[in-house]
């Protein structure tokens, strides 16, 4: 057996592929865990996109909503801790009262920004891509402004959520241990993300609300004819999607780290949009795409922490580390370009709805 493996490894190029496969397999537990960790904000951004676009509203302001969620979550934590102290952490997830209040505030902040987009897109009927861009500029400006204003006070934050910490025997279960570890050895927002994806998938395709939402996104006029209030449903869905995107932002400043940096979302909202397109506007598909994009980051991280050895290691050592920083963005571009022709958006996506005057 070893002779066979060694033989396979000896073949040029193909050998590298085998070595790479072997490396990923050996690193699988950490690799999968990192991939889920990285995929969470992308998936939440994609869920925001799915919810908006299934209702017929294009939202490229997800990035901005996430940034506001990240800032509000962190800063409201600072304020609440200043008023009532850090509070006692629960043994599971490390929840404290300030953290929970801050998380709710973050989602409300996201909903407020989403409301602005909804108003511009649905009521004022402006170009939705420009409206989304305004959201992004405004979020970047406001959070940067406030961050600079309070930076020299070295604010004391509310800390962050902690992962579930599964017992060791679960993670070491044969076959499924690594999978359980990857998905459930995570913090509360990450675990809720998995629930949100599944619930959204079921609701969108198996509930009355989902049918209505999809009909409003495909053919609003027909929907209106059968008595669905197009404008109200679109408003509701866009505002709700703001809470989801803000959760993705809060994940960055309240679960992965416990601080805020200007522009810390780093294009994740846009990668989320790409995941939505690659996943054909379905929650599960988008989650899969987010995992795919995230695995490129995970590969980069696992290579920098634990470089492979042998022939593959020599090759990778010659690749500049910045290549792995760019990898998720490159992968996004390539997959998006490869998939898009076969991925069809909802028919009324981006088209403002105007009710015809009763005659």
């Amino acid at each position: 057996m070893d002779a066979l493996v060694n033989g396979l490894y000896g073949i040029p190029l193909l050998g590298l592929v085998f070595q790479f496969g072997g490396y990923v397999l050996a690193e699988l537990p950490t690799f999968a865990h990192t991939a889920v960790l990285v995929a969470v904000p992308l998936a939440l951004a994609a869920m925001c996109g799915v919810l908006c676009e299934r209702s017929g509203v294009v939202n490229i302001g997800i990035e901005g909503i996430m940034l506001v969620g990240a800032f509000v979550g962190w800063y409201v934590g600072v304020l609440v801790v200043g008023i009532m102290g850090p509070g006692h952490a629960t043994p599971i997830f490390g929840l404290t009262l300030p953290l929970v209040i801050a998380l709710v505030a973050a989602m409300l902040g996201g909903m407020l920004l989403a409301l602005l987009h909804a108003w511009l897109a649905i009521s004022v009927r402006v170009d939705q891509i420009i409206s989304g861009t305004i959201l992004n500029i405004m979020a970047l400006g406001l959070t940067g402004y406030l961050n600079t204003l309070i930076a020299n006070q070295s604010p004391q934050g509310a800390g962050n959520f902690s992962p579930l910490a599964l017992p060791a025997w679960v993670i070491h279960l044969p076959v499924v241990g690594w999978l359980l570890g990857a998905f459930f050895d995570q913090g509360p927002i990450a675990i809720s993300t998995i629930a949100i994806v599944i619930v959204l998938q079921v609701l969108l395709f198996r509930s009355r609300w989902g049918l209505r939402t999809r009909s409003v996104g495909e053919h609003p006029k027909a929907a209106e004819t059968v008595g669905i209030n197009v404008v109200r449903l679109r408003y509701r869905n866009v505002i709700a999607s703001g809470a989801i995107a803000a959760l993705g932002g809060a994940y960055l400043s309240m679960e992965v780290t416990n601080s805020f940096q200007a522009g810390m979302t780093n294009g994740r909202g846009f990668i989320g949009l790409a995941a939505m397109i690659v996943g054909r506007w379905t929650p599960l598909g988008a989650f899969g795409a987010a995992l795919l994009f995230a695995s490129s980051t995970a590969i980069g991280q696992s290579i920098s922490f634990d470089p492979p050895n042998g022939q593959l290691g020599d090759l990778i050592a010659r690749v500049p580390p910045q290549f792995f920083d760019a990898l998720p963005y490159l992968v996004t571009i390539v997959i998006l370009a490869g998939v898009i022709g076969r991925s069809v958006p909802p028919a009324a996506d981006g088209k403002p709805y105007e009710r015809e005057a009763a005659t």
């Binding site: 420009i130 305004i134 500029i137 400006g141 600079t148 846009f270 998006l336 996506d349």
Partner: protein, 412 residues
Amino acid sequence: MSDGGATVPNRRGRSMRRIGRHAWDVLAVPVVSIILALLVGAVVILATSILVPGTKLDATLLGLPLRAYGALFCGSAGSPLPSFHLLIVTGPLVGCSGGSWDGFIETFVQATPLILAGLGVGLGFKAGLFNIGAQGQFLLGALGAVWIGSSLGTGPVIVAIVLALIAGALVGAFWAGIAGFLKATSGAHEVVTTIMLNYVALAMLSWLASGPLHQPGSPQPVTTDVGDAALPILFGPDGHVGIFIALVAVPIVWFFLFRTTKGFEIRAVGANPEASRYAGIRPKVLTVLTMAIAGGLAGLAGAVNLLGISHQMPASFSTTVGFDAITVALLGRSNPWGILPAALLLGAMRAGAALMQIQAGVPAELVDVVQAIILLFLVANSLLRKLPGLRGARSGLGTTDTMTGSYGSETA
């Protein structure tokens, strides 16, 4: 007899009034948007000042926005001429100290890349393309200029400058051309691809500044110096020749858009891609071409900025040119002659922001906030135009409201 003599000044008066009326119709929405945005900005300054400990809530606080805007003005338009300040009412109120032309020149220096990149974004808008990637094209354009500038040996300065500028424009054109090509061949929307390319460009900057283009002997990750290709400084501390390159680009782009066949085709595709295909225009080719020209202008902006100001690029180089260029293009209605004043306005805000932060303690990012609010009023102009006096005003955005239509779908 006397009637004839009397009507002439009358008629002239009427036509003057008509020109005035026309100018107001064109300018009303942008001007009112800017004024309202500055007012909202003042409210933001006041509302957020309570976050800073030690702020006294009394009448003097109300002066804070005035002090902030005063500093913003002095930093961008301060001049040694008192009459210049009288011209603009805030001057005597503010009393800019240490009068020199530096702030005024800085406005043009800051506006230079915004003019060039704004022309590129505006050109894209005309063709119905949304280039959010000016940031990455700018960075790579600057890197292209560094690469060529630093690798040329000694020779005529003018040759070095011209080659470095061309390199910057070509690299920028190539970078945006990728997004154009992907859109034309696969339908991948440029909004997503150009943003992704921005982050790839950042990684490339980091790699080049610490690797292939690293300044030998420097402990920091910074690129080599451009050497002979540095642009000559004409006025003040950094009033470089590039200002004129940007000013000359305005009529050139205008001529290209409105007086050449290709320019007409670009506008036709933007106005109605379906009809233009029937007219024998190939939208795919034009998409790549438009993106390449837009990227070339943004790359040129990066090259000019680099050769004129810093001459080498640190890995941590950061700029707001990407979003600024979008604001400039929208504020200028994608028309080159509108983009010029819009870029000067934004350049003035960028030039004055540092002084505002130092003198009034108001973070420079206020400029971004004001910028977003300007755009907000611009796009919501259908509401603005319900105000008295603005009823006849033209919409704030011109031909740029057809883009979302192409989103996500294949460009046939």
